[in-house]
Symmetry: C2
């Protein structure tokens, strides 16, 4: 670890026989308001370049009590939905001089808690989080510490904090209605078996659309546990093959559920290409390249990412103005 000694403000100051204050002013572009001499300004600028000065952001953070860093906690950065979201947030952060530290919680509150603690220790100026199930207390804690917080993708009801989410109810209602309008009646719905708000809302949207069409009796909801997606999906379609249930359309509450289902359907030789209805979430190449192309609910990812960042930025700058946004889904029908 014998790193070459970095050059510091002090080194420049010494080299020029001036005070560090002067160097700091100039290098922070405050030479006007501090009325530093033109000559001096030039000399300092040049020395900084010659000596390859790079400011130590850590020292600055400590002194300024702001790290210009935000934390982003996702379910899993390897999941393209979150990857894209992360990218959008990264872009906005960079534009505004912030760096983002990303962590994946795997929907696990323990991990999420650990991540949040680490990020707080690193003095992030704010936190954008996709809350895991059971993370209410942890996030409440964050709020009590007055750390700016924005939830994204989903929110925890009762938690008095900013969030940017899809209008999940509407997304699901519209999707179901679209299937109903096309004449489908036996619409099976697949969702994760979780209390998380976004999932509940998607289920509710399906249920209400069904009941608004007088089809409450046709409701068919498969709740699949996150731990065991493949097996449960296989069981479900085994039961279908054994005529335990029937469908004329499938509606999935998440992208991964639909992908797993497509695998299972193929593996079991269940054909979709006929007159079956199909709607998933988020789309992707699989949806586009499927024969026929598959319909899906598109989430306004760009808005979701941007809004969440700028709401956070507002809070970092301004205090505690809570903003809660529901974004409209876009139904892509094929």
């Amino acid at each position: 670890m014998n790193k070459k000694q970095n050059v510091s403000l002090k080194d420049i100051a010494k080299h020029l026989n001036v005070s560090t204050a002067l160097v700091s002013y100039v290098l922070n572009g405050k030479e006007k308001e501090k009325r530093v001499g033109k000559e001096m300004t030039k000399k300092i600028r040049q020395a900084a370049i010659d000596m390859q000065y790079q400011p130590n952001q850590i020292a600055r953070s400590l002194r300024m009590k702001e790290s210009k860093t935000i934390g982003l906690i996702l379910a899993d950065i390897a999941n393209p939905f979150f990857g894209q979201l992360a990218r959008i947030i990264e872009n906005e952060a960079t534009k505004n001089g912030y760096t983002v530290i990303i962590g994946s919680s795997d929907e696990d509150n323990k991990k999420s808690t650990l991540l949040i603690d680490t990020l707080i220790n690193r003095q992030v100026d704010g936190l954008i989080v996709v809350p895991a199930e059971g993370s209410y207390e942890q996030l409440k804690n964050v709020i009590e510490k007055q750390i700016p917080l924005v939830m994204v993708d989903r929110c925890l009801p009762g938690l008095n904090a900013s969030f940017v989410v899809l209008n999940n109810y509407k997304a699901s209602y519209d999707a179901t209605q679209s299937l109903l309008r096309k004449g489908f009646r036996k619409i099976a719905h697949f969702a994760y078996n979780t209390d998380l708000n976004h999932m509940q809302e998607r289920i509710r949207g399906y249920q209400e659309a069904m009941s608004d069409h007088g089809l409450s009796d046709n409701e068919h909801i498969h709740r699949i546990s996150l731990m065991n997606i493949n097996n449960e999906m296989e069981n479900i379609f085994d039961e279908f093959l054994r005529k335990k249930w029937d469908f004329d359309a499938l509606f999935f509450a998440t992208n991964s559920l639909s992908i797993v289902a497509l695998h299972v359907l193929r593996q079991k030789g269940i054909d979709l290409s006929d007159k079956k209805g199909f709607i998933g979430f988020d789309g992707g190449d699989v949806f586009d390249l499927h024969n026929p192309p598959l319909s899906f609910v598109r989430q306004p990812l760009l808005d979701m990412g941007k809004e969440s960042f700028y709401i956070l930025l507002d809070q970092i700058k301004g205090g505690t103005l809570i903003q809660q946004k529901m974004l409209d889904p876009i139904l892509i029908e094929r």
Copy 2:
């Protein structure tokens, strides 16, 4: 920004009427070697909990001259290949007490340079980077500053630094050979138009396999520019339809090229399901769900991520032991 004042070591010390040194020792688990009294140790521990003390990692970093942070520069975190890689690295980093800051370069040296500077200012202990075209000077600079560096996914030849890459030549040679063995002769190869080493190696693998089979004359390489993938791909297959060229098998040097090609093929009504050969890179749901399933070169992502992290860790801990690894590809044939 009226954040509630965080409690510091000093606060605990004051509260207990002891020195900060003592508190620091205990909270860092050094009470044994510093022979702090048992009573005292207990009291300090309890106070830390009661007062909800959270260490300030920034202050610690400044003092210790290590940030326990590494920087990871990818082409694009929204790309699942890099997303998965990032996730693996994140996992290992977390296990070892490191936090990772991710940045996306978009294969653009300007952005990459900016990112690297930012990360260095933030005093990362080391850098894992997917080098962009033209970033030789920049990375050389990093090395001269003695900042631990590992290149991943590709390397810059001539740069004396660690890397972990696929054996791209072999990957491509094997894939081409597999097609040849199946009797395909007019194998078209699609690659990005870039000097980056991994792409050159993939092209070379294809070429040598062809020439080893006496088929140099059949070589057909489409070099597509990153800026304009869709249009160029469309043009290529328009020319195919106009009989400007022909193929009995397609071999793609990257996943995204194959995905774009699949879109174009479908859009132009060119059928693949016949007796055409097809091999891509990295696989994914699209490959699995295609009819018939598509073959691909699998990269050992887990190893790639882990190796790059641990090589970096070695360098952070030990100095400048350069390690260069080429990982074997796995050809998944269907």
